[in-house]
C-alpha cells in the first residue's frame, strides 16, 4: 500500500489547530460557513459540470439535490450556530441548593467524513457544515467513484476554507484504510452496510463514536386514492424513484406495495408519467442520471438477469452499455427471493409487489431489515396510525417521497440496518458535539449527613431527601422525629 503523502503531517496540523482553540470561536465557525456559501455560489457551474461528468446529472437536479441543499444547510447553520452553542440550563433538585447545572456543547476534536458518490457534493459538504458549526477540525474524503466532484472539492475547498482546519484527502480503498487506522474523535460515514461494518470495527480500536448513514430497501405503500390524488401520488412516486440520481439514492423508493386490484392502473399511470418526464426514447433520456460506473451498471443489469425476474418486466428493461444508461423499468411481482427483492436496488428498477389487502404491507415490511425511509400514500387515518406505530424505519413520510430530506427540523438517519446517528440542522451540530454536563456549587450550606461516619440519623435524612420529603427533613432536623433524636451523634 502506498503511504498517503503527508498524512501524518496533515493530521498533526489539524490536531494543532484544534488545540489552539481557534475553531471554537463563533466567529471562526461563521466565517467558514460563509465561505462554504461563497464556494457553492461562485462555483455553481463547475459543480454542475462535475456532476454532469460523474453522473450525467441534469443541472436542475443538481441544484435541487446538491447546491440548493448545501446553501440551505449552510445558511440555516449560519443563522443558528450561536444559539446552538449556548449552554442549556438543567433543572436541579432543591437538595443540591445552591447550585446551577448546565449542559454545554463542546467540539469533539478532529473528525473524519467519508462521503458517497451518488450525491457527491451535498453528502460531502452537508456533514462538513455540521462539523464546522460544532467547532471541529475536519478531514473529508470524497468518494473516488465520483472523481470529477472529488477533485473539484479537493481543489476548491482550500481556496475558500481554512486549510489548517479543513482538509480534503482524495483516494480509494487504500486511502480509506489508511485514514481508518488513525485515531479520530468522530467518524461520519455515508454508504453501504458492508463498509459500515468495516468502519465501525476500525473505530472500535480507538473508541471512536461513529455515525453510519446507510441505505436499505425503502418501501412505498400505495393505498387506494381518489383519481385526482392518485395523479399527484404517481408523480411523487416517479419523482422519488427516478428523480434523485436515477434511483441511486439511499432514500430513493426501492419498491411499491399495492393491492392486487390497483396494480394494472398503477403500471399504466407510471408508464404515462415516465413518458412525460423522460420522453419515449432510450437515446433521449436527458433528464435521467446515468449509472455511476461500469461495476454498478453490471450490478443493476444483473438484477434483471434471472429469467423469472426478467419475465416480470412490464415496462422498460433496456439499457445502453456504452453510456451506462438504464431505462426506467417497472417489474410486476418479481419473485420475492430474487436478488432484486433481497438487495438494495440502487438504480432505476422499480418492482411492484401486490398484496391482497394493503394492511399486509406492515407485515411485509416488518419481515425485512429496517429501511431508512418508508413512504405511504394513503388518506386512511387509522392506517397511517397503524403504520406509524407498528413499523420501524429511519423516517416515515406520508403522501410524498424524498422531501423529508429537506426538513432541517427533522433528524435524518437510519435505524437497524439502515444505520445509526443522525444529522441535518441542529442534529448535525449535536452529532459533532459532546454534551458536557457542568455542575456549579459553592461553599455555603453544607449538608452534614453526606459525610461519614455513618449513623441512622444520616441514613434517615438521606431517605427523606431522596423522596424530596422536605417537611420530613425539617422535622428531622428540628429533632421532632423523636426516634432519631437519641441516635443523633454528630
Amino acid at each position: 500500500m502506498e503511504e498517503l503523502a503527508g498524512l501524518t503531517q496533515s493530521l498533526g496540523e489539524l490536531r494543532e489547530t484544534f488545540k489552539s482553540g481557534k475553531t471554537r470561536g463563533v466567529e471562526w465557525r461563521k466565517a467558514q460557513l460563509r465561505a462554504i456559501l461563497k464556494l457553492v455560489e461562485e462555483n455553481e457551474d463547475k459543480i454542475f459540470d462535475a456532476l454532469q461528468q460523474d453522473l450525467g446529472k441534469h443541472p436542475v437536479e443538481s441544484y435541487r439535490d446538491e447546491v440548493g441543499i448545501v446553501k440551505k444547510s449552510a445558511s440555516n447553520s449560519l443563522e443558528s450556530v450561536q444559539k446552538w452553542m449556548a449552554p442549556k440550563k438543567g433543572h436541579l433538585p432543591l437538595l443540591l441548593f445552591p447550585a446551577t447545572a448546565e449542559v454545554l456543547p463542546e467540539p469533539l476534536g478532529l473528525v473524519l467524513i467519508l462521503s458517497s458518490w451518488n450525491f457527491p457534493i451535498s453528502l460531502s459538504l452537508d456533514p462538513v457544515i455540521g462539523a464546522i458549526s460544532a467547532g471541529n477540525t475536519v478531514v473529508l474524503k470524497p468518494s473516488e467513484l465520483a472523481p470529477a466532484c472529488s477533485s473539484f472539492l479537493a481543489n476548491t475547498i482550500p481556496h475558500y476554507l481554512d486549510s489548517q482546519a479543513i482538509k480534503v484527502i482524495e483516494g480509494g480503498i487504500d486511502a480509506a484504510e489508511q485514514l481508518l487506522q488513525q485515531k479520530w474523535d468522530k467518524i461520519f460515514f455515508t454508504g453501504s452496510p458492508q463498509v459500515g461494518r468495516v468502519i465501525m470495527s476500525a473505530a472500535a480500536k480507538h473508541l471512536t463514536p461513529v455515525t453510519l448513514e446507510l441505505g436499505g430497501k425503502c418501501p412505498t405503500i400505495l393505498d387506494s386514492l381518489p383519481d385526482s390524488d392518485l395523479e399527484v401520488a404517481i408523480k411523487r412516486i416517479a419523482g422519488g424513484k427516478w428523480g434523485p440520481c436515477s434511483g441511486q439514492a439511499c432514500i430513493g423508493i426501492d419498491y411499491i406495495l399495492v393491492e392486487q386490484k390497483f396494480a394494472s392502473i398503477l403500471v399504466e399511470l407510471l408508464k404515462k408519467c415516465i413518458k412525460k418526464f423522460y420522453g419515449e426514447s432510450m437515446e433521449n433520456l436527458k433528464n435521467l442520471c446515468r449509472i455511476v460506473n461500469k461495476h454498478h451498471f453490471n450490478r443493476v443489469c444483473n438484477l434483471l438477469e434471472d429469467p423469472s425476474v426478467s419475465a416480470s418486466i412490464v415496462h422498460g428493461g433496456s439499457w445502453d452499455e456504452e453510456n451506462l444508461m438504464i431505462e426506467p423499468t417497472i417489474l410486476l411481482d418479481p419473485p420475492l427471493d430474487a436478488d432484486i427483492m433481497t438487495e438494495e436496488i440502487f438504480g432505476p428498477l422499480l418492482p411492484i409487489i401486490t398484496l391482497n389487502k394493503i394492511e399486509e404491507s406492515i407485515e411485509f415490511i416488518n419481515s425485512r431489515p429496517k429501511p431508512l425511509a418508508i413512504y405511504a400514500f394513503t388518506k386512511n387515518e387509522r392506517f397511517k396510525q397503524k403504520l406509524l406505530s407498528e413499523t420501524s424505519s429511519g423516517s416515515i413520510t406520508f403522501n410524498d417521497a424524498m422531501i423529508q430530506f429537506l426538513c432541517d427540523v427533522l433528524p435524518f438517519g437510519g435505524v437497524g440496518r439502515s444505520g445509526f446517528g443522525r444529522y441535518h440542522g441542529k442534529y448535525s451540530f449535536d452529532t459533532f458535539s459532546h454534551e458536557k454536563a457542568v455542575l456549579h456549587r459553592n461553599f455555603y450550606f453544607e449538608l452534614e449527613p453526606r459525610y461519614p461516619p455513618w449513623n441512622n440519623f444520616k441514613l434517615d435524612f438521606i431517605k427523606l431527601a431522596y423522596d424530596f420529603n422536605y417537611l420530613g427533613l425539617l422535622l428531622l432536623l428540628s429533632g421532632l422525629r423523636r426516634i432519631f433524636r437519641s441516635k443523633r451523634s454528630n
Binding site: 472500535a204 412525460k276 416515515i396 454536563a437 441514613l459
Partner: protein
C-alpha cells in the same frame, strides 16, 4: 451453572418485542413499578448482597445504589407520558404544506452489561431507560459481584415480566456468547479494553453502543477556597464512593506547591474524623472487591518511583482486602499510578507552580469521565469549563453531578460514548423517528422533469425560502 442458550433467549425476547406488548404505556409503567417494588421490599437483601460483595457500608448502598435507582424509576414513571409523546417540528416553506413530528420508538432487544462497583445501580439504572423506552432487555450483571448478581437474577425473575426482561448471569464465556447475538443496542459499563471488544462485536451487526467507561478524573484545588468543606467533599467523592472504586472518583489532585501542605493536613485530619485513627476498624469504608484488584493496587503502590511518596495511610490488610485511604505527594508523571485509572483508595497529589499549568497536565492525558475544580476565582472557573474536556465537570464539589437527572451522564473520548440518566436514558434506548405528513395539495411541477431553466429558478427561490423570489418566478418576472 447450566450453560444458557443465547440464541433462544434473544429469539424469545424478539418474539415478545414483535408482539408489540412492550410498546404500550401500561406495560412500561407496570414494569417500572415492579422495579420500585423490588427495591423497596428487598432493601435489606440488596444491602446484604452489596456488603458481601464489597463490604459496602449500608448508608452508601442505600444512598448510591437503591435510592438513586428509585429516584430514576420515579422520575421515569412521572415523566413517561411526556417522553413518549411525539414532538412537533416546525416545517418550512420548502415542504409547505406539511406537518412534521419526531416520534420516539423502542429499538427492540437490548443488552445491558453492567459493572461490579455499583452492581445494583449500574444494572438497573440502564434497565429503567430500556423499559421506559419500550424495549425488551437482557441484563448481564458482573460476575465479580456474585451476591448482587444472584439477587438481581432472583428478584427480576420474581418481579418482572420474564418474557421481556431477563438476567443472564455469568463471566467471560457467557458475555462472549451474548455479544455474538444481534442486538438493537448495547449499553456497557466498564473499562476501555472490554469497551473495544464490545464495540467490535457490535460492528458486525451494526448495533449502536453506549460505552460508560472511566478514566483518570482530576481534581484541581485552588488556594482561595473553604478548605475544610473542600477536603470533605473530595473525601466524600473518593473514599465515600466505594473506597475509590467508582468511575467518577477523583483519581488525582493538582494543586500549587505553596498550598499542598495545607491541603494534605486538611485531608488527613478530615479523614481521621470520618474513619478514625485506624481506618481498618471503620465500617464506613468498602473493601477492595477481590484479590486481583487488591494486588493491582499494591503494584501501583510498590512501584519504586512511588513507594517513598506516601504522606498519609498506605496500610494494607490482605486478609480482609482492605487498603487505607492513602495520599501520595508528587509521584512522577511516568509512574504506573499516573498512567492507569487507579480505581481504589490511593490519591496522588501533583504540585505545580501556577494552577493554570494543571490544564496542560489534564489535556496531555486521555479525556476523563469527570473533572473537578475547587476555587472561588471566577476567571479560573470559566477557563476550566471552556478548556477542559470531560464527560462532566463539577465546580466546588465532586461526584454530585451523577445525582442530577437533568444532566446527561456519559463520557467522551477514552471515557466512553453515549449518555444516560433521566430523559437521556429514554432517548438512548429510543429511535427518534422522523415523520413528515403531506397532503396531496400544493404539488410543485418544478420538482419533476422535464427540467427547465424556470424550474431551476423556482427551486432556487424555494430552497432559499424566499417568498418574493417564488412569486417573481411564478409571475415570470425573472
Amino acid at each position: 451453572m447450566a450453560f444458557f442458550d443465547p440464541t433462544a433467549t434473544v429469539k424469545e425476547l424478539r418474539g415478545t418485542f414483535d408482539s408489540g406488548k412492550t410498546k404500550s404505556y401500561e406495560w412500561r409503567v407496570s414494569q417500572l413499578k415492579a422495579l420500585l417494588k423490588l427495591a423497596s421490599f428487598h432493601e435489606k437483601e440488596i444491602i446484604d448482597a452489596l456488603h458481601s460483595d464489597l463490604s459496602k457500608p449500608e448508608l452508601e448502598s442505600f444512598l448510591f445504589e437503591i435510592a438513586l435507582m428509585k429516584t430514576g424509576c420515579k422520575l421515569a414513571l412521572k415523566e413517561l407520558r411526556s417522553w413518549m409523546a411525539p414532538e412537533k417540528a416546525k416545517t418550512s416553506m420548502t415542504t409547505f404544506p406539511s406537518s412534521a413530528e419526531i416520534v420516539p420508538e423502542p429499538l427492540g432487544v437490548v443488552l445491558v452489561i453492567s459493572a461490579w462497583n455499583y452492581p445494583f445501580l449500574l444494572s438497573l439504572d440502564p434497565v429503567i431507560g430500556a423499559i421506559a423506552a419500550g424495549n425488551t432487555v437482557v441484563l448481564k450483571p458482573s460476575e465479580i459481584a456474585p451476591a448482587t448478581s444472584s439477587v438481581l437474577a432472583k428478584l427480576l425473575g420474581q418481579y418482572m415480566d420474564c418474557s421481556a426482561v431477563k438476567v443472564i448471569e455469568g463471566a467471560v464465556p457467557e458475555t462472549t456468547a451474548l455479544l455474538e447475538q444481534k442486538w438493537d443496542k448495547i449499553l456497557y459499563t466498564g473499562n476501555g479494553k472490554v469497551g473495544r471488544i464490545v464495540m467490535s462485536a457490535a460492528a458486525k451487526h451494526l448495533t449502536p453502543v453506549v460505552l460508560e467507561l472511566g478514566g483518570k478524573s482530576p481534581v484541581i484545588v485552588d488556594s482561595d477556597i473553604d478548605l475544610k468543606v473542600s477536603a470533605r467533599r473530595i473525601i466524600a467523592g473518593k473514599w465515600g464512593c466505594n473506597n475509590g472504586q467508582a468511575c467518577i472518583s477523583p483519581d488525582y489532585i493538582i494543586t500549587t506547591k505553596d498550598y499542598v501542605s495545607e491541603l494534605i493536613d486538611a485531608l488527613s485530619s478530615e479523614l481521621e474524623k470520618f474513619y478514625g485513627k485506624d481506618p481498618f476498624k471503620s465500617d464506613d469504608l468498602s473493601r477492595i472487591v477481590n484479590s486481583n484488584h487488591f494486588h493491582r493496587l499494591c503494584k501501583l503502590l510498590d512501584d519504586d518511583k512511588v513507594s517513598g511518596k506516601i504522606v498519609h495511610g498506605g496500610q494494607k490488610d490482605i486478609t480482609n482486602l482492605k487498603i487505607a485511604p492513602t495520599l501520595l505527594l508528587d509521584v512522577p508523571e511516568d509512574s504506573l499510578i499516573m498512567n492507569e485509572e487507579i480505581f481504589g483508595p490511593l490519591l496522588p497529589i501533583i504540585t505545580v507552580n501556577k494552577l493554570e499549568e494543571s490544564f496542560n497536565i489534564i489535556k496531555s492525558k486521555e479525556k476523563p469521565l469527570a473533572a473537578y475544580l475547587f476555587t472561588n476565582n471566577k476567571k479560573l472557573k470559566e477557563d476550566f469549563i471552556s478548556n477542559i474536556s470531560a464527560g462532566g465537570l463539577v465546580v466546588n464539589d465532586t461526584a454530585m453531578h451523577v445525582a442530577v437527572s437533568t444532566l446527561p451522564f456519559g463520557g467522551v473520548g477514552e471515557s466512553g460514548m453515549g449518555a444516560y440518566h433521566g430523559k437521556f436514558s429514554f432517548d438512548t434506548f429510543s429511535h427518534q423517528k422522523a415523520v413528515l405528513l403531506r397532503s396531496f395539495a400544493g404539488d410543485l411541477a418544478a420538482r419533476y422533469p422535464p427540467y427547465t431553466q424556470k424550474k431551476q429558478k423556482l427551486l432556487r427561490a424555494l430552497l432559499n425560502g424566499s417568498l418574493i423570489g417564488i412569486i417573481r418566478v411564478l409571475l415570470g418576472w425573472e
